[in-house]
């Protein structure tokens, strides 16, 4: 590796602008003649909209227009879509009700928009929105999955009888039943995976501009995938054909999945910008974010695991109810199915698995992918089961896991996934060594003498990332392919622009992707820039989610670089009058091997563009593009071990130590990778100890601000000890696996396993607040 190549912790190029206040986020942008939108939102969880009286609002100062749900329907703007078709056990397609961008007739969650006010200033729009009178007829609401499927429950959509979107299954039920029939021991658990609000620090925002002369729209939006946004807005919502719609996602302040989806507000801003023929800006506030950003998790599950007399797993049976909220968000259907049940084998050799998942409508905000998306739910379930099994079978939890680890690769699980490579023992060993697992009993005894309850908890997670082979996801119902594109432009002076369909909203692509170029061409990262987030600049891309940017987007860059290299070598050979096969690249120089003859990249580039002396028949220029479609998912895996201390008097949990040993394959920028792990771990810990999106029975979100929803703060979490073990991913040219979601996938089970170990009561749900922990201690006393 060079100073800036693969494996170097290069300081981020983007940080000068972010540390000096020069980042450019959507809300920072002002357009000439710009108006401001404020939405009128339902205060009810379930209600019929009987009428909207805008007359008073229209007389308010600065008001340009008040637009309603009926108008957006009349203008034939399409309903929001769900892009992954799931088929129920009985062969029927999933059952969905329509989701118009603003509700013309029925609202199904608090915060759903019914109208929008467009005004000269933000305050004027906000003031006038309060003067819009909506006549609601309240309907009975249901927020809990089990209640929603019970007889007599309020019905949300006539298309989905009993509020059931689908009743899906995966795996071999008969083989699993056979495994249980043979079992020496069976471990059973009921588990709740708590609903979370994603809470990227930048609230969602959109600015839409309509150019009447060109019949062209521009949308600035807080998106993780601007090309997908353009495709969906164009193909399904009838906003404009793709060549008449430019989508720009500039600096975006965090996503965590919540900015994958195309939301009603962007659609309305675009539609309204043509209606009022002026730019329209909408910036959400934090409570709007809580109410309208797609939430995450919210599973209720029952799981059973069968063991033989030697403590080897024979089978796993899981029944999960997934709460989808009032409408099916863009990728919601895939999260509790193909992103969840396919990971239920964990790191273990499980001969038979059978999973059933029922997706259910409730009067809550829509639920979709949030950091990890399905995989945290799977990992939490498997790892709590393993810890519980170890306690029930009276064996060491590390030993039980180790005994059941998959050790031969590739490994075909009974739930679709074919793990390509891994060394689960290596990460378990690294984590145990780092935390001094062997010394724990002595530390526990010492803590006990000091009146504290000390516990240790393991979590051996695996995830499927780098999503995904297009053909595979297509066969499972996905509406899109999940490849990535790249283009390398070598300028005549030798500087390089890399165009990528990935989108950076904190991941550091502007640095990591430059390092790939530095590695291959020996060009300093200062001479390379990354272009992303603008559909007019980059032809197409699938965006950033599912820990895919490096494994898929980076591989596309490598493919394009190979083409650039091949052409540049031909030019260099021609210029140096040497054989192409004798040209090697060293530190930005094209050298004739075994001689002192060389030509620097800028001279090769100049030759390509002057075209005065190119090989016969060669086209001028030095620019190549590539599309890369992965051959398999990647499988990052690792072990997290958490040691905590509980104060029995208060139920408060304090971290003693948190160790993470991850196998992400090759690391391009270890500093950035570790930052991703820190952030993921904190979100996992947040879920375990603090965060919970809570609804009352009427559908009011009673945790709709940072006053009520406990975000992890600096003194809630420890400093982490990170270890890396490495098996190179054989599926992509970089050998990388992805690191963005791991922490959020693996951490929560480690924390709960540690607390339940400390207090001696396994009956504890997330978030394990001091109140819940204290009550669990009392219950076990």
């Amino acid at each position: 590796m060079g100073m800036e190549g693969i494996g170097a912790s290069v300081v981020r190029k983007e940080d000068r602008r972010f540390t000096t206040g020069k980042g450019r986020y959507v809300d920072d942008i002002k357009l000439l003649g710009m108006t401001h939108a404020h939405f009128v939102r339902s205060p009810h969880g379930h209600a019929r909209v009987k009428g909207i009286d805008s007359s008073a609002a229209l007389k308010m100062p600065g008001v340009v227009a008040v637009l309603t749900g009926q108008q957006i329907v009349d203008d034939k703007v399409g309903n929001l879509i769900c892009g992954w078709a799931i088929t129920s056990k009985d062969g029927s397609p999933m059952k969905m009700g329509a989701w118009p961008a603003m509700a013309p007739e029925v609202v199904r969650f608090v915060g759903q928009a019914v109208a929008v006010v467009i005004a000269e200033t933000k305050n004027q729009a906000r003031d006038a929105a309060e003067a819009v009178v909506v006549d609601y007829e309240e309907l009975p609401a249901v927020t809990n999955v089990k209640a929603a499927i019970a007889a007599g429950a309020p019905q949300l959509h006539p298309e989905a009888p009993g509020n059931v979107v689908y009743d899906w299954e995966l795996g071999d039920q008969a083989a699993t039943n056979d495994a249980f029939a043979k079992a020496a021991n069976v471990v059973k658990m009921d588990l709740v995976n708590n609903r979370l609000a994603p809470n990227a620090m930048e609230p969602r925002a959109a600015i839409a501009q309509y150019d009447e002369a060109e019949e062209h729209f521009t949308l600035y939006t807080t998106s993780q995938n601007p090309h997908v946004a353009r495709l969906v807005l164009s193909a399904f919502y009838n906003i404009a054909p793709e060549h008449k719609l430019r989508v720009i996602a500039p600096d975006v302040g965090g996503g965590f999945g919540s900015k994958i989806f195309i939301y009603p507000e962007e659609m309305v801003a675009l539609w309204a910008s043509k209606k009022v023929n002026r730019p329209v800006k909408w910036t959400g506030d934090r409570t709007e974010a809580f109410l309208t950003d797609a939430h995450g998790r919210d599973h209720v599950s029952h799981a059973e695991m069968a063991f033989d007399a030697d403590n080897r797993i024979l089978g796993l049976r899981v029944k999960t109810y997934a709460n989808f909220g009032g409408y099916m968000s863009l990728f919601s259907s895939s999260v509790p199915t193909y992103l969840y049940a396919t990971l239920l084998s964990g790191q273990y050799n499980i001969p038979a698995i059978y999973a059933e998942v029922m997706g259910v409508y409730t009067n809550t905000s829509p639920v979709d992918a949030y950091r990890g998306a399905g995989r945290p739910e799977a990992s939490y379930l498997v790892e709590r089961m393993m810890e519980t099994a170890a306690r029930q079978l009276k064996v060491d939890p590390a030993e039980l896991r180790s005994k059941n680890f998959i050790r031969q690769f590739p490994h075909q699980t009974p739930v679709i996934m074919a793990y390509d490579i891994g060394d689960f023992q290596a990460s378990l060993d690294a984590a145990m060594k780092s935390i001094d697992y062997a010394g724990f009993p002595a530390r526990k005894a010492k803590a006990k003498a000091e009146g504290k309850l000390r516990g240790i908890g393991l979590s051996c997670y695996i995830e499927a990332c780098g999503i995904a082979p297009s053909k595979a996801v297509g066969s499972l119902g996905a509406g899109v392919g999940l490849w990535e594109s790249a283009e390398i432009r070598v300028n005549p002076v030798g500087t390089i622009e890399v165009l990528t369909g990935s989108h950076s909203h904190g991941q550091g692509h502007e640095t990591t992707f430059c390092q790939l170029v530095a590695e291959r061409l020996g060009v300093p990262v200062s001479q390379v820039s990354i272009v992303h987030g603008d559909t007019d600049k980059v032809q197409f891309g699938m965006g950033t989610y599912g820990s895919r940017s490096l494994a898929v987007g980076g591989s596309a860059i490598i493919k394009a670089l190979e083409k650039v290299e091949a052409k540049a070598k031909k030019i260099a050979a021609h210029q140096l009058e040497a054989s192409e096969s004798d040209i090697v690249i060293e530190n930005g120089e094209f050298k004739v091997t075994g001689t002192d003859k060389s030509i620097a990249l800028p001279m090769v580039a100049l030759a390509a563009y002057t075209a005065h002396n190119l090989p016969d028949g060669m086209e001028p220029g030095l620019k190549e593009s590539a599309f890369y479609d992965p051959s398999n998912f990647t499988f990052p895996a690792g072990t997290y071990i958490c040691e905590i201390e509980v104060d029995p008097g208060t139920g408060k949990t304090e971290f003693v130590n948190f160790v993470a040993a991850d196998d992400f394959g090759r690391l391009v920028n270890p500093m950035i990778v570790e930052g991703q792990v820190h952030g993921g771990l904190t979100q996992g810990i947040g879920q375990a100890l603090l965060e919970h999106a809570v609804y009352d029975g009427n559908g009011q979100l009673i945790t709709a601000s940072f006053m009520d929803y406990a975000m992890p703060r600096a003194d809630d979490v420890p400093s982490y000890k990170l270890q890396h073990t490495t098996t190179l991913c054989p599926g992509n040219p970089l050998g990388v696996k992805g690191c963005g979601e791991a922490g959020a996938i693996g951490a929560s089970a480690a924390v709960i396993n540690a607390i339940t170990d400390a207090i001696g009561n396994n009956n504890l749900e997330m978030p394990a607040t001091p109140d819940r922990v204290w009550h669990a201690i009392q219950a076990s006393a």
């Binding site: 940080d15 206040g21 920072d28 965090g254 934090r286 952030g679």
Partner: protein
């Protein structure tokens, strides 16, 4: 409307504003100083922290009228020309930021923390003092590292003076 005059990043600025104008909106909308961010509406997240007369203030919780006559420093005014403030440099060098949205408020709070505590900073104190700044990306690990690193740099710079 209220007439106001204050100093922002060393320059005197004045204007007529609606009485309800918050300092953060004055900075962002009137002065185009968009480095100061709004991340919540309840004074919880700290993305909007600036210095008013040398002290860290959540600019979403102060009317600009209350800052009349005051001296305000925003993230844009922290560096010395091209040279980053030690806190900015420490955040960059320690990967103390990812998406960058909370970063301006985080840095302004952190400068205030170091100034108040001088050389007496340790990890627990930094974590406790950052209670009013929320970051969703970094898990705080590298932010804490950055603040401790910057404290060392700032103390060294002060000692050299």
């Amino acid at each position: 409307m209220t007439a106001i005059s204050l100093t922002v990043n060393g320059k005197v600025v004045s204007g007529n504003v609606e009485d309800r104008t918050l300092l953060v909106h004055f900075l962002r909308d009137h002065l185009n100083l968009t480095g100061t961010h709004v991340g919540c509406d309840t004074s919880q997240c700290g993305a909007c922290v600036v210095h008013v007369d040398g002290r860290a203030v959540k600019s979403c919780t102060m009317l600009v009228g209350q800052a009349d006559g005051a001296s305000v420093t925003t993230i844009e005014g922290l560096a010395d020309g091209d040279e980053l403030h030690p806190m900015q440099a420490a955040f960059r060098d320690n990967h103390g930021l990812q998406c960058g949205y909370c970063t301006p408020g985080m840095i302004m709070s952190a400068v205030d923390i170091v100034q108040r505590h001088g050389g007496q900073l340790d990890e627990a104190t930094v974590r406790h003092e950052l209670e009013g700044n929320i970051c969703r990306c970094t898990g705080y690990h590298n932010i804490v590292k950055s603040v401790l690193d910057a404290a060392g740099r700032m103390n060294a710079a002060q000692a050299a003076e």
